[in-house]
Symmetry: C2
């Protein structure tokens, strides 16, 4: 499987006139190598493919296991730069043009590569690997499905516990512990717990505020399973009966999120998914408070292409996992965010596959 | 204070022929701006200093508060690139030469800066800010001192709990929760808990192995307090009586760590601190199993200059906080690491100031 992925990239690379490519962005290395210790880079050579590692792979499950089709080179000087070592290797193998990831290499590192191999032409691989990663195979989707199950379990347990009086920070740590309890390799991203006036804010970092009666409570979390990351976001009310404004706002955001989910079909433009959700909030007069996008791809990174945003170019394919996460935050009052991870599927296959199945009713906790 | 820091950098920058500098590396932005929302960059202009933010600062304590001496510019398009926006601003202000952080900017971003301001000469600021950050002022050291107190408290509590049967992952999460309990803004880095054959391994990522009788247990953790990060590492034995090889190995690593600590004086070469610790392990026949360095600077990042390593150039100054963390890992058996954070002080001032005060006796838990 990894060999096939590397084969596709090599063809693409050859078409741009480079017989070899240096992959340095960690998620791209993992996608093509199966697994790699931190700091490793992948050299797609004209002959064989070499994984250059600062130190021996430890067998740490979080790193994954390097594909057997790879030649493993462990550097003599662990403090050194694997990209530089790989470039020297390419030079000794007589490579003339090496495609590198200019969106990942720093200017200083790129210069270092040039200086160890002055005759080597450094081309730009661009986002070739990221583009190849957008459409997932069923093995990848299976990992995302498990990550989503773990995430639903962790969230479900939290809902059964007492929340009033606990701080955002503690609830976030509690959720991350439960993710690991249920088999996650770790959280997919920093868990967000937002209470009262903070609720509904995208990417709010948990603070010392405690949950109070009458609060909106919005949480956003996800599991990392075998490197694959999903995301769920829910908003709850604390106390027996939500206020009218809370019910209205919740129903509005729920309607927008449903519209976004229902727009997830192969062939739909990214921006049209965003528009489907955004216009509902816009019409209701919340155009100002809206985040710049409605969702994004997920996979080996929590924030991948496609971007579901007004200016995004491109159309959805089948087997692309994305989040749909509209939200409204009213400064000083708080707000609502509802966030699911789904996989785009053909209508004949039942349409979008919802991975995060925790209820989206407005729960009063 | 932040104004003074920016003033020093501006002088240095002017000396290299650039009237303006673009700071993009997050820790450097925070150092010079006091605080900044994620994704913000700092433009040291010829006239005033501008903090360009993708969105309004939220007042999140983890971000810190931007210094009042700064002009705040919030971008219209949050999805856009703050470095590009700052470069356009520099152009409109008639800047001719802009020093940028080529060790942080990617090749692709650097090109983007060039294309929004073709007439602007992009120079390299190099590691100017990182070098300025090496020697800390007393406010910074005060934050590190608090971070160390929090870390000692979290570790102390763990030692009072039952350990046998618990997994590395759970102990690590428990420690991180306790850090936050005691006032940390978060962990300074991913907490490492290593048991049995994993013990003593630098940067071991906690897995599913459970603590067993007779194990070595090594932990490495640290608090992030107001952005400042410290580090402590300790190794314990599980059970009533350590084996002879465990006692011998522990005493050896302890002797090496003490030698390293005692070498921490202004004027001592970085490599001599490393040598002081390394030779003791080397003579004992562990030269092979040693990590590439004995310690490193800490501050706004957990891994800063100086590097205490065989090939490191330079000498210690007073008020430089560093770790001293030698360790030996015997493949298949495990090992010992002992890690403290200290501040280099003049002998007249009592010599190195130990921030992490948890006992280094070999405890049998």
């Amino acid at each position: 499987m990894y060999g096939v992925r590397r084969g596709r990239l090599r063809d693409r690379c050859a078409a741009t006139g480079s017989a070899a490519a240096l992959i340095s962005r960690p998620a791209n290395v993992r996608y093509l190598a199966g697994g790699a210790p931190p700091g490793a880079v992948l050299l797609l050579g004209p002959a064989d493919d070499v994984l250059v590692c600062p130190r021996k792979p430890t067998g740490d499950p979080a790193d994954g296991r390097p594909d057997e089709g790879l030649r493993l080179v462990v550097m003599q000087t662990p403090a050194g730069d694997a990209a530089v070592a790989a470039t020297e290797l390419a030079r000794t193998e007589g490579v003339e043009s090496l495609a590198v990831e200019e969106h990942h290499l720093t200017v200083a590192r790129h210069r270092a590569l040039g200086s160890v191999a002055p005759r080597l032409r450094l081309a730009d691989l661009g986002l070739a690997v990221e583009q190849q990663r957008i459409v997932k195979d069923e093995d990848e989707i299976a990992c995302l499905r498990i990550a989503a199950e773990i995430t639903d379990q962790a969230l479900g347990e939290l809902l059964e516990s007492i929340l009033v009086g606990r701080t955002e920070r503690h609830l976030a740590l509690e959720l991350e512990r439960r993710l690991v309890d249920h088999g996650a390799d770790g959280p997919a991203f920093a868990t967000s717990v937002a209470t009262g006036p903070n609720s509904g804010r995208t990417g709010h970092r948990p603070g010392d505020r405690r949950v109070e009666e009458g609060d909106f409570l919005s949480v956003c979390l996800g599991a990392n399973y075998r490197g694959y990351r999903c995301e769920i976001g829910r908003t709850f009310v604390i106390g027996t009966t939500p206020a009218d404004w809370q019910i209205e706002l919740y129903e509005l955001v729920f309607a927008a999120q449903r519209a976004g989910r229902e727009a997830l079909l192969p062939g739909t433009a990214y921006r049209d998914v965003d528009h489907a959700a955004r216009q509902i909030l816009d019409v209701a007069g919340h155009g100002e408070e809206l985040p710049p996008r409605t969702g994004h791809g997920v996979g080996l990174e929590i924030d991948e292409d496609p971007q579901l945003a007004p200016a995004a170019m491109g159309k959805l394919d089948a087997c692309v996992p994305v989040t749909v996460e509209p939200g409204v935050h009213l400064p000083g009052r708080g707000g609502v965010r509802i966030d699911d991870t789904l996989v785009v599927r053909q209508e004949a296959d039942g349409g979008p596959e919802l991975l995060t199945i925790t209820t989206k009713e407005l729960l009063a906790l």
